[in-house]
Amino acid sequence: MEEKLLQLIEKQARYSVSDLAMALQESEENILETMSELERKRVICGYHTLVNWDKTNKEKVQALIQINSTPEREYGYDRVAARIARYPEVDTLYLLSGSSEFIVEVSGKTMQDVAMFVGSKLACIEGVTGTSTLFVLKKYKKAGMLLEDNEDRQERLVVTP
C-alpha cells in the first residue's frame, strides 16, 4: 500500500485523506497513520507546490553551480555537503560522479545576488576547491511537469462508445 500511496501523492499532493482511502481501498485512519509514518521516516519529505516564478512579477534567478571539493578522511564528502546545504539559498544539492563533486541549485533575486553568494559563501567553504556557475535562462520542465504544455486535450469527445 505504501508504494501505491506514494505513487498517487507524488503527482498530486492535494488529495484528501478520504480520497486516498477510497482510491486505495483502505480506512482513513490507516492512510493517516501510513502517511505520518512515512513522514517520520522522511520518505515523504514535504508537500510542495511546483511554482513557475517566471510567470509572476517576482524577481528570481536560478543557477546551477558545479562544485569541486576534496574528501575528508572518515567523512568523505558528507561534512562539506552539510556545510553547503545549510545555506537557505541552496535549493538542491547532489553529490555526483564525474568531473565535479557536487551540483547545487541556487536561487536569488538577481544575478549579482547569486554571484555574490557563490563568491563569498560557497567558494569559501572549507573543502571546496572550485566552482563554476551556470545561470538558468529558461525552464522547460521540472519534477516531471512541462512548465508550458501546449498539447490540446480538449479534443476528446464528450460521449463515445
Binding site: 501505491k4 505513487q7 498517487l8 498530486q12 488529495y15 480520497d19 477510497m22 482510491a23 486505495l24 481501498q25 498539447e151 486535450r153 476528446r156 469527445l157 464528450v158 460521449v159 463515445t160 462508445p161
Partner: protein
C-alpha cells in the same frame, strides 16, 4: 420529389441509430458538461511511441505496407501475445487492422452467410449487432446478469444454441459492464464450444486492463484454439485510439479469408501507425503498467463513491467502466441520464444503449482523473438528492 431513402440498402436503412450517438448530440449542446461518458483513455499516447511515428515519417515511411501489415509488427504482436498471455501465434496468423473495429467487421464478413446466427451476450459494445446485421447474420441475444458478475454461464450458452448458430461473440473484460471471465469460467464453456463446433470471436481489446487477476484468453485452451478469432488492438492498452490500429489472431484459413476482404476494402493499416505499434510492443510494457495502476485507483475511488451514494455498483474487474444499477431511483436508464445531464450537466451513457439487458443501469467511465471523478460524483450526489426531495420532474 425523389425519395432518396428508397435507394438505400434496406439493412443500412433499418440499422437502429446508436443510443450513444443520440446521447452525444444531447450532451454536446450543453456548455460546461462534466463528462463521464467516454470510451477512450485520457492518457497521452506514450511519447516514445509518438516519436517512433514521427521518425517513421521523417524516414519516408509513407507507402502502403503488405496487406496483412508489416512483418516486423506481426512478429512483435506474436512475441507480445506470447509474453503477456502465453498465446502461440505465427506471423501468418496475424492480420493488422484499422482498429479492433475493422476486426469485428472482418470476422463477421468472412464467416457469416445470410441467416447464420451469432450469439451475443449483452449488455455489449455497440458495434457488434450492426456488424452482424451488415453481414446478413442474425443476432441471438443473451441477457447477462449482474448477480453472475455479467459472466456467460454454460447453461445460458446451451439455451441459446440452434442448428444455425455459427459464432459466439465474447468481450471480456467487457464494455460496458467491466465484467471479466477467469480461466475457470471459460473452462465451463469450452466443451460446449468444441462439441457444437462454434467459432468464438473474442474481443480482447481490454486485455491489459485487468485489475484483480491476470487476463486469460479463451484462445489459451488448446482444445478450441483454432476455433477462436481474437480481436485486439492498441487503442485502450496504449492510449492510442486516434491511431486506428488493431489486429486479428486466428487460424491461417480465417486470416486468409479476412485478409481477402481487408485487401480490397482497406489495403493496409496506416503505415506510420504500424511503426508506432512496433515501438509500443517492444518498449511499452512499463507504460501500460503505470496506466493500469492509475485506472485501478480510479476504479476503487469511483465504485466506493457510488456505493456511498446508495447506487449499488458491481465491482468491475476490468476495462475502465463501472455499471451501477439505478433501478432504486425508479427511473429508466434514459430518464436518469437525460435528467442528470439537464439538472447537473453530468454525462453518463444510458445502459440500454448496450442492449435491453442494460436497462436499469448506466455506464460511467473512469478514464478520468480522480479530480474529475470527484466532481462527477458530487453532481450525481446532488442529482440524487433532488430526486429524493421530489425536485426533479420526470
Amino acid at each position: 420529389m425523389i425519395d432518396y431513402e428508397s435507394y438505400l440498402n434496406t439493412t443500412v436503412r433499418d440499422l437502429a441509430p446508436s443510443g450513444i450517438r443520440k446521447f452525444f448530440d444531447l450532451a454536446n449542446q450543453i456548455e460546461g458538461v462534466v463528462s463521464l461518458g467516454v470510451g477512450e483513455p485520457d492518457f497521452d499516447t506514450p511519447w516514445h511511441v509518438r516519436e517512433a511515428a514521427i521518425y517513421a515519417l521523417e524516414k519516408g515511411k509513407t507507402f502502403y505496407t503488405a496487406n496483412p501489415g508489416l512483418l516486423e509488427l506481426r512478429k512483435e504482436i506474436c512475441a507480445y501475445q506470447k509474453r503477456k498471455f502465453n498465446l502461440d501465434y505465427q506471423e501468418d496468423q496475424v492480420l493488422v487492422t484499422v482498429g479492433g473495429s475493422e476486426g469485428i467487421d472482418l470476422a463477421c464478413r468472412a464467416l457469416l452467410n445470410p441467416g447464420d446466427e451469432v450469439i451475443l451476450p449483452t449488455p455489449s459494445y455497440v458495434a457488434y449487432s450492426p456488424a452482424i446485421a451488415l453481414s446478413g447474420g442474425i443476432t441471438k441475444y443473451i441477457e447477462l446478469k449482474e448477480e453472475n458478475g455479467f459472466k456467460l454461464t454454460p447453461e445460458m450458452l446451451e439455451a441459446a444454441l440452434t442448428d444455425r448458430t455459427k459464432i459466439l461473440l465474447l468481450n471480456y473484460p467487457n464494455n460496458p459492464t467491466g465484467g471479466t471471465m477467469s480461466r475457470d469460467d471459460f473452462a465451463l464453456l469450452v466443451p460446449i464450444i468444441k462439441k457444437y463446433g462454434l467459432i468464438v470471436v473474442s474481443d480482447e481489446i481490454y486485455a491489459e486492463l485487468c485489475y484483480d487477476e491476470h487476463f486469460c484468453s479463451i484462445a489459451s485452451f488448446d482444445d478450441i484454439k483454432d476455433q477462436v478469432i481474437v480481436i485486439s488492438g492498441f487503442s485502450k492498452a496504449y492510449a492510442m485510439t486516434g491511431w486506428r490500429l488493431g489486429y486479428l489472431l486466428a487460424h491461417p484459413t480465417f486470416i486468409k479469408a479476412m485478409n481477402k476482404v481487408h485487401q480490397f476494402v482497406i489495403m493496409c493499416a496506416n503505415t506510420m501507425a504500424q511503426y508506432a505499434g512496433i515501438e509500443a510492443l517492444k518498449n511499452g510494457d512499463e507504460g501500460i503498467e503505470q496506466m493500469r495502476l492509475s485506472y485501478l485507483a480510479r476504479r476503487n475511488y469511483l465504485v466506493e463513491g457510488l456505493n456511498r451514494l446508495g447506487l449499488k455498483t458491481f465491482m468491475p474487474r476490468g476495462a475502465f467502466y463501472v455499471f451501477p444499477c439505478i433501478k432504486s431511483t425508479g427511473l429508466t436508464s434514459k430518464q436518469f441520464c437525460e435528467l442528470l445531464l439537464s439538472e447537473e450537466k453530468c454525462a453518463c451513457v444510458p445502459g440500454d444503449a448496450f442492449g435491453d439487458a442494460g436497462e436499469g443501469y448506466v455506464r460511467i467511465s473512469y478514464a478520468y482523473s480522480i479530480e474529475q471523478l470527484k466532481e462527477g460524483l458530487s453532481r450525481i450526489e446532488s442529482f440524487l438528492k433532488k430526486l429524493d426531495d421530489g425536485k426533479v420532474k420526470v
